[in-house]
Point group: C2
Chain length 137, copies 2
DNA sequence: CCTAAAAACGCAATTCCATTGCACGTTTTA
DNA sequence: TAAAACGTGCAATGGAATTGCGTTTTTAGG
């Protein structure tokens, strides 16, 4: 199983260190996006900066993407299957006002947006706030 | 002219102090959204906190709205005519990667987004990043 | 196998932005 | 006009992101 994680890292040209494997494993388990603080809480022994740089590396290599959900803390999420984390492949993020979790909704594409003359779009982020499926019950 | 500004404030139940009139006047002149830092640079004599609270008041009273453009600093913009700054009246914001200005595009509505079963949307923010009309030349 | 170079890590410290507490002056209102 | 409410300025705090640098670990070459 660790082998799978190793492969995943190596495919993206990220050297599979112990720390990185653990972080990747954790990210895979999550249903919601995680913040740096969340990771710190998960790995109490690990250094904040190491985790920070791990996330940064993952992001640069296209393993994860970051999300600004308005809470002030950046959240991170692995892209699910089918999502390349590429700018063109834009999906929706949902922030739950109740549980304050942020979800990545790769299956729900952002509709085309019309812009004024001369504005050239490169990437698009759509953040929907509301109540998530776990909190509507 | 100052009278107009005064009226605008009073209509929103904001008492027209000297500082507030100046800030409002400045905001009206802007084509792009401004940050607290921008205001500090404009009014070097004014206190950061006063400007901060002025913006906060304006926002609470519905004169302006805030924008998170991913730069870390919150930007603020007056709503143009026709925009009520209400959650339902959602418009697009455009961040220029070149000049790093953020524009409010009230004429361009956010298309309806479909969400998974059980997710209830309440407000929506669409941030498009790219190159603005001033930088495409 | 050994060593030099490169990469990752850990700790300390800094920066940037947002926010709060409190004292003081001004405006409103009873 | 006195009390209360409000606005302003200064000092200080807090949270998150980020950098510097020395140490450890890993990699690649001899």
């Amino acid at each position: 199983m660790m082998k799978e994680l190793e492969n995943k890292l190596e495919q993206k040209e990220v050297r599979p260190t112990a720390m990185r494997l653990l972080v990747l494993e954790t990210l895979q388990k999550q249903k919601a996006a995680v913040s740096l603080q969340d990771l710190e809480d998960t790995f109490e022994k690990a250094d904040r900066v190491t985790l920070y740089r791990t996330l940064k590396t993952f992001q640069e290599k296209g393993l994860i993407h970051s999300i600004e959900d308005g809470t002030g803390a950046t959240k991170y999420a692995l892209c699910q299957e089918g999502c390349e984390c590429a700018p063109e492949d834009m999906h929706v993020h949902f922030f739950c006002n109740s549980c304050e979790d942020t979800f990545c909704l790769p299956k729900f594409k952002i509709p085309e947006v019309s812009l004024p003359e001369g504005f050239v779009p490169m990437e698009t982020n759509l953040l929907v706030k509301g109540v998530c499926v776990n909190c509507t019950a």
